[in-house]
Symmetry: C2
Subunit: 361 residues, 2 copies
Amino acid sequence: MQELQVELGARSYPIYVGPGLLGQVDLVNRHVSGSRVAIVTNETIAPLYLAQLKAQLARFRPIEVVLPDGEQYKTLKVLDHIFTALLEAHCDRRTTVIALGGGVVGDMAGFAAAVYQRGISFIQVPTTLLSQVDSSVGGKTGVNHLLGKNMIGAFHQPRAVVIDTDTLATLPDRELSAGLAEVIKYGLIRDPEYLLWLERNTDRLLARDSATLTEAIIRSCRHKAEVVAADETETGQRALLNLGHTFGHAIETGMGYGAWLHGEAVAVGMVMAADLSHRLGWLSGHDVARIEALVRCARLPVRAPSAISPARFLELMSVDKKAINGHIRLILLKAIGQAVIVDDCPSAALEATLTAMRDPV
Amino acid sequence: MQELQVELGARSYPIYVGPGLLGQVDLVNRHVSGSRVAIVTNETIAPLYLAQLKAQLARFRPIEVVLPDGEQYKTLKVLDHIFTALLEAHCDRRTTVIALGGGVVGDMAGFAAAVYQRGISFIQVPTTLLSQVDSSVGGKTGVNHLLGKNMIGAFHQPRAVVIDTDTLATLPDRELSAGLAEVIKYGLIRDPEYLLWLERNTDRLLARDSATLTEAIIRSCRHKAEVVAADETETGQRALLNLGHTFGHAIETGMGYGAWLHGEAVAVGMVMAADLSHRLGWLSGHDVARIEALVRCARLPVRAPSAISPARFLELMSVDKKAINGHIRLILLKAIGQAVIVDDCPSAALEATLTAMRDPV
């Protein structure tokens, strides 16, 4: 097992990474505050790992909340089911919520913890690659609104992140690839050497080689922890982690939540950001081709759905959380490994990208 | 106009109290951050004061969100209407929400601001006595759950509280009395001299004498500001402000939100707390009679509804936010002006109070 630390003063917390951690008594336990836990998971994960986790936490009289699986259920309405379960079990302020699942479960369980009785503790136990390398670290929690992704939420840091790499064995291929999108992102925005490593190891990652996956998780978590420690509430550089996300959120909202996986939408978004960065004279054509090739190798889409017209895309992007006065804010690449925030992207270049990167079929 | 300050370091803010403040240009304006405002109000208040406030804020292109009026609408579902309105108007992170109305509007608008795009600014413009003396100050925001009052929420401090005392002219008598319950509370928990003043001035307050109401608002806000400054997130003495509230919340939840006004339920709750404090040997029979007389004089109820049995009362009280491991935590009175937190109230005494203070009809 390896351990990293997210340095946030009084709110600092550890990230544990290794095989078999769900079977390690006292790893989750030591971070439970109070005498009660509530495990939030979904109907896909529950039959796989819930019994094991519950057994470990038996002395905290765990209650379980099993949500439907999918981004389309990341809503205020489904969130209310969590509150109902907590209240029916008379869970008080000293209850600790445990998120067992992927990004959707983590975002919802974390947000429920952020606002239940004005805030209780929670622990992340991510079971998908995407949540292990990205969403479980950093305290962003929330739900979607029909009109915009992640529009309702809170910053609420977990007490610990427990990553059992064995859980990746049951992950569908499509979700493994979706997780790789966020892994590639770290290389693109701040670590060219990591990008090179990823290009050389894509096959091993897709083949679920345990050591390679573990290395990718640790390197990714280290990047995430560094950025979050420097800018917890995204007043500055944390925004760079949103490379591909403004395009990606538009795809997710426009296609209906759940149609595209978050990582798939981010993958296309990164390729679009690369294309736009090239149009602005920053990336070479070779850089763009290299990025597109890596995304494709990771078995991720590289073109935006034809169902969303460029005009609709612009409309969807204008409600992004980074937008200011309706002005779209983008994360682009000055070079591979060097991301920048762009507030004044020429609209002609943006429209050219939206048109060029739209799937012809 | 008088000005008080809530001292919370970087989150400090002013409370302005006086007549005609809604007509004073730049009082609200100076606390708007960003270039856009969203006024949240209800259908009772909108025809009275919305046009005036909108006119003042014209340069911020105000949008308006008009909610139905009543505690029964303080729900996640109605909250979602606020998010929809904000998103439809493309409100970004630099939007300032303005709560124009009573406690329900303030709690909901504040909570919407707390979680919209993970948190934006808000300003309180309370128009009821209850919200002017209590709920608009201190940053408690949230909504109810069917199973428990204020169970979903956040601490989110406003940028300013603007109290136009002229708005009390349109307040229904029943709501004026409800506000007096929270005023009496300050006297009971920390200021015996204030209680004496209230006993002498109840008639003037009920007659809406402007100078007397203004004095009550200022003295009450000063108490609230002091307590909040010392204990923002209620880890200690702020809990004393909940005198009567554990009983009161049980009444509100048990009778169905909206049947009893919050202040009415708190009024009975305070009389019940006084009765229980007497049973524990702390208050004299004379003290209890004095408290009950003042509450009655303020035209507030002094007995719990017969529809809630003592057993049901206990069940409702056990889900209170202050409860720990299902153990009821009560605020009681050691003496008039001296409140205490009681974790180990003998259940025989509590049950005796629930039985004795139940309305026989």
